[in-house]
Symmetry: C2
Subunit: 395 residues, 2 copies
Amino acid sequence: MHHVTDTLLSLFVVFAAAQLCGGLARRLRLPGVVGEILAGALIGPYALGWIDATQIAAGMPLDVLAEIGVVLLLFSVGLETRLEDLRRVGKAAFLVGVLGVMLPFLLGAVWAHGQGYAWSRALFIAAAFVATSAGITARVLQELGALQRIESRVILGAAVIDDILAMLLLGVVVSLQGGGGLDVAHLALVLAGAVGFVAVIGLGGARLMRRHAATLDRRRDPESLLGLVLALCLGLAWVSTLFGLAAIIGAFLAGMIASETRQQHMLEQQTRPLLALLTPFFFVVTGSKLDLSQFASTDALIMLAVVTAIAVVSKLLGGFLGALTLGRRAATLVGFGMVPRGEVGVVVASLGLAAGVFDERIYALIVAMSLLTAMLTPPILAALLRRDRPAEAAS
Amino acid sequence: MHHVTDTLLSLFVVFAAAQLCGGLARRLRLPGVVGEILAGALIGPYALGWIDATQIAAGMPLDVLAEIGVVLLLFSVGLETRLEDLRRVGKAAFLVGVLGVMLPFLLGAVWAHGQGYAWSRALFIAAAFVATSAGITARVLQELGALQRIESRVILGAAVIDDILAMLLLGVVVSLQGGGGLDVAHLALVLAGAVGFVAVIGLGGARLMRRHAATLDRRRDPESLLGLVLALCLGLAWVSTLFGLAAIIGAFLAGMIASETRQQHMLEQQTRPLLALLTPFFFVVTGSKLDLSQFASTDALIMLAVVTAIAVVSKLLGGFLGALTLGRRAATLVGFGMVPRGEVGVVVASLGLAAGVFDERIYALIVAMSLLTAMLTPPILAALLRRDRPAEAAS
């Protein structure tokens, strides 16, 4: 029974640290998520070591709980998002998604090439600058009750585009490493699959659900409908990974589908305790991967600052330019909303390390940059949202 | 990213199977838990193999989710239980606990010795007949809204006693294997520790919580109190394993403590979605351990029937005699409520196998018996509860 004790201890430590640091952050008028990521950095293997590296490795219980946490988070965000609302901001979201991928990719590639890496490796490194972590921003927007704002919808729509493009880009740079050139037909197929999945599930699912809402209403106990939509959420999260997309894209679509039922409000209520239990695991596990000991020298620290600045500015600019039709204030909010790389950057860096393309130094840089963007952005978003509070709240 | 796909697939398969089979069971007017356990047996490694043996091994994600599920289940049962109510049935619960341990232990030992095992081994085998799985019965009682009945309180109180005694008994039989005799002083210390933990946390915690309920009421958002009590739940679950008790004992106590807050009703509401998501993992994983292929011959099947009959009758009789002061109907319900062995029997059998005391045949027998008692009891409990519905509902 020894492993039960160990397991429960690690669950308790992670959850209690998140409660404590999240609460502290909120007292300082910061988003709770900042406290939770810091909690992870604090108790993680590179600081206090209360949870060790094997416990947060891919496929281990804490990692799986983290994955469930972020899947449920995006599911709940989907629950608060209507397809109609997304469609209305479609053009801006598309521009934000495309520019928010292109600028970081270009600037990242130029920087990496300037560091002496050949173009094929530089492009792989640049791919780690690209993908936005929708989880971080979604949590901040939800925490501050801002999901109904037009900027939030643009960010969410752009996050879907962003994930599709980032996935394609990763496919391209991986195949470039082999030196065998690009298989354009294959890439077109991958793109068609991903876009098809999003379109069929997003549009078709919502329509189907609206038609059958009455049938679902007849289900007597509230847990029965919840069980059904949670199965849908897990199922679509799984299927979306089959199309090369992040699990959270499927979860987000599942939430949007479920938001078409008449019990959408009840489902939102029921999802909240699930988030309270499970999302802290995501943010703590994300934060626990931060290893600042690598940046003890001034040179290394300056390098980290430069990389982080490139990542922030390029994404901010891409989002800002893409959303400029909404006005400069809104565009600024959208731009910052796209900045966090979080766990997505960590995943790309891990792939690069495993493929032998990243050396230890680049790996540590990209991971630290990803996590720093995740920690720096929430306070800025919160300040922007609070400043704008009296202004334009859509719907 | 391959492992993410695999993980999400297994989560989806387990959860969807539980939804489907649980729903079917309810349509047949059976408790949903029966369907969930059967779902596990069906998709498990010994039947369809949709989840394999490594996925449900101790410490793996599905096993950890199962553990969290049963911990939350007993936490929620604790939330619906007031310390006062337990105290009022203390005497009956104590008798049920003691007799419900003694009779199965004696009968199990006699049977095992009759099978040709030396007494020291026979006593270890008998220990696997002892412990009740509170999870199965608690779920049925909760599903049928019967937790406020006096019989339910007796069962819950007895389950705590049962776990303490079973833990001691296991300590005794393990030390007997060494042939070094009993260390009575050590056992007394273990007993004192376990009883002390339950008494201090149960009595002291509830009192403390009652005194500080007003402070907690001041917490503004509902998720903040939930986070606090979930941390308490995970923390006490962990500590109770340090005292050699099951994690669910600590979780049950945490629930009882939280039930003293004024927002007890809100906490109950919030816990329900958590149960909807996580308890299915417990029941499916439990069921997936059933390997009936071992019982293909008539002889083996008869043997399984005999062992199961001994386990059922001895526990039923112990509970019945212990609760006889409540009347024969109530005593019957209490008796059946104590019958399920479930995952606890599986754990003892695994310990026996690891210690080299159980051979493969006894191991398979005990595991199958434990799971059969878990599957057979819920329909009987449901029938007894439905028959009595108009009668004596306490409080």
